[in-house]
Amino acid sequence: MKRQILFITVGLLLAAALCWGSPNGEESALQEVDPTGVEITYWHQFTRFQQETLEALVEEFNNTNQWNIKVTPEFGGRYDDLYNKMVTAIAAGRVPDLVAAYQNEAAAYQASGALADINDYIDDPQWGLGDERSDYFEGFLQQDVNAQFGGARLGFPPNRSLELLFYNLDWLEQMGFSGPPKNWDEFYQMCRKATNPAENQYGYAINTGASNVFAQVISRGGEVAKADGSGYTYNTRQMRDSMAFMKRLYGEKFSRKIAEPYGEQNDFANWKVLFTMSSTAGLPYYDGSVAKGEQGPFDWSVAAVPHTTARPALDIYGASVSIPKSTPQRQLAAWLLVKYLTQPGPQAKWVEATNYFPVRKSTAAQLGDYLSKNPNYKIAYDLLLNSDAKAEPPFAGYSEVRDAVEAAFNKILDGADIDATLRDLDAEANKIHREAAP
């Protein structure tokens, strides 16, 4: 609701903002743009060691780029805070030159025409990706192409994560299973066998977030949005199957909801839960928790979310960086930083500090022994190479839709009728979509 109010306010104040506004109109041809000596700012969401690594990379860029571009990285708050800061900045015409944004947030910014189309830079013969483009994971690049805005590219990925199944291998083997479940039936059987109320053990810690719902739906070959950007499809067979499965698992007490943020990691480390589904960004935290768990370290790993599709279909996510409209020189300088940060060398440093996936295939060769030292990361990375990576809807208003999806999932688990709830969810999501549409 807060976001909606803010969004409406932006619309009302947009005209006023243009008075001071960011320069707009037609940009000169990129070939004639000279970014030499430009100073730009980059609003990011990273804290502590991630912030330190990013600042080191930016410093490296500042010291080595041939145009003498100077970038000042600024922590703008966590995602929601950064979004509010950016919306306010757009209204006041004081945008940064580069900003971290999820795809749906970028779409919200673009509803005010605030962002540059990065296609102009990617494809440019002088400044673009050129032959290097094929080195980027195409699925990652496609995430930022937004059908709501005629295929404009509103962001560029600096890194990505996957939603995967985390499993306790020792526990599975004790129960007579040789590995993780490949499909939902196997998953159900394993959860049932693992559940032991006397020991407070259960099969799966239910994550009711929208990303997890998306992961379940695509694992059954479904989608939650129309490819042309015209709306959501939450009342599908795959969605109903997903909800029915989870409702059954929850009703039979083979699973529990996650009670506190990251509480499932502790339960996993203490052999209280056999499976969790989480982001690969959590791998080091799982590592740390398992090493310190009640029963000591054990064998655990990650696998594709159980699926009925031929190849695993995995939810791939992560914030991109968007280039707000400013001057051609500043925009080009911002693009050159983005390009630098996605070179294999900086990418390798970024991976080692954050455990995110690189966006370029050739980064793997630069990772040295990182992959062998982090076997679960390697498994996840191999899954990335051998799966159909799918992204959540990049539409304006998706943040509100995510809240609605989570609420609907919880209602269903608590006993609400699946058909009626999904019908309502579909209607609500599409209403939000219409209201937030550019």
Binding site: I5, L6, T9, A92
Partner: protein, 282 residues
């Protein structure tokens, strides 16, 4: 004549109050106990009941506070918060007492209408004010400067209302007598009204202190560097994307909340008295 409650009823009420107080204090104790645990203990020794030994650390890890202090640059942020809060609270007390006196003791055309308009501003959600306030601050060139964090909060309709209610209860005769003796309105405010209003003034101090101390969104919007960022920004550094560092987050929370608790203990008696006398309910 007040009818006395039966001892049994009193005992039950007392028991309920004790239970309520106990439940209320659990989150605070949880914060303190987890701030003193190792990261391993936050994983393996966790309980929601203070009587359970698992609720408490085996050996208190005081070093968590040092680590939290250093990793989140709490030194700088703490200093900033103290300065921002001191200026803001002082400003609020100053502007609110002057305004409240005017609304309570002076007669002028449109007084009630202006007061009603002032009260109606309380109904505007803060989110809506974010952008206009930011535009004003940006136009004044205050981005990333101390005035951006203090000036917009120096006047508060709520606190004017609160003080006005108290000032209205002070007999006008006292002001009239002072006036006969040659006192100006400012002298009456300083020498008569304010000394009689310690409780509400403490309440204003306490409430505005908490509000200012806990601000996060506005400081993030109007600052670009750590130079004037408050302690809440430091605390947000411990919100990680994919995993918990509960011990450090809780240590940071204890550090951030200590001044609020200190101020509360100082102002507790006056605060309670003011709430009782005003009929306000939390």
């Amino acid at each position: 004549m007040v009818k006395e409650r039966s001892p049994w009823l009193q005992a039950v009420l007392l028991l309920l109050l004790i239970l309520g107080a106990f439940v209320s204090i659990i989150p605070f104790l949880f914060m303190v106990s987890h701030s003193l645990k190792t990261i391993a203990e936050t994983i393996t020794r966790s309980s929601a009941i203070p009587f359970d030994p698992k609720f408490w650390p085996r050996v208190p890890q005081w070093s968590n506070y040092r680590v939290a202090w250093q990793e989140a640059r709490f030194g700088l942020y703490f200093r900033n918060s103290v300065i921002i809060t001191a200026i803001t609270v002082g400003g609020i007390v100053f502007t609110s007492s002057l305004s409240a006196y005017a609304f309570a003791k002076l007669r002028f055309v449109g007084r009630d209408l202006i007061f009603t308009i002032l009260l109606s501003t309380l109904m505007i959600p803060q989110t809506v004010l974010l952008i206009p306030n930011f535009i004003i601050v940006a136009k004044l060139g205050w981005i990333d400067r101390l005035p951006a964090l203090t000036v917009p909060f120096l006047a508060s309709a709520f606190h004017i209302f609160l003080l006005r209610q108290f000032f209205s209860q002070i007999p006008n005769e006292l002001i009239e007598v002072a006036k006969i003796d040659g006192a100006t309105h400012l002298r009456s405010l300083i020498s008569i009204v304010l000394p009689l209003s310690k409780a509400p003034i403490f309440t204003v101090v306490f409430l505005s202190f908490i509000y200012t101390w806990n601000l996060l969104q506005w400081p993030l919007v109007v600052t670009q560097t750590p130079r004037w960022r408050p302690i809440t920004v430091g605390l947000s550094m411990f919100i990680t994307e994919a995993g918990p560092e509960t011990h450090l987050r809780m240590a940071g929370a204890v550090i951030a909340v200590l001044p609020v608790i200190t101020v509360y203990f100082i102002a507790q008696r006056q605060f309670t008295e003011a709430i009782t006398r005003s009929g306000l309910k939390e």
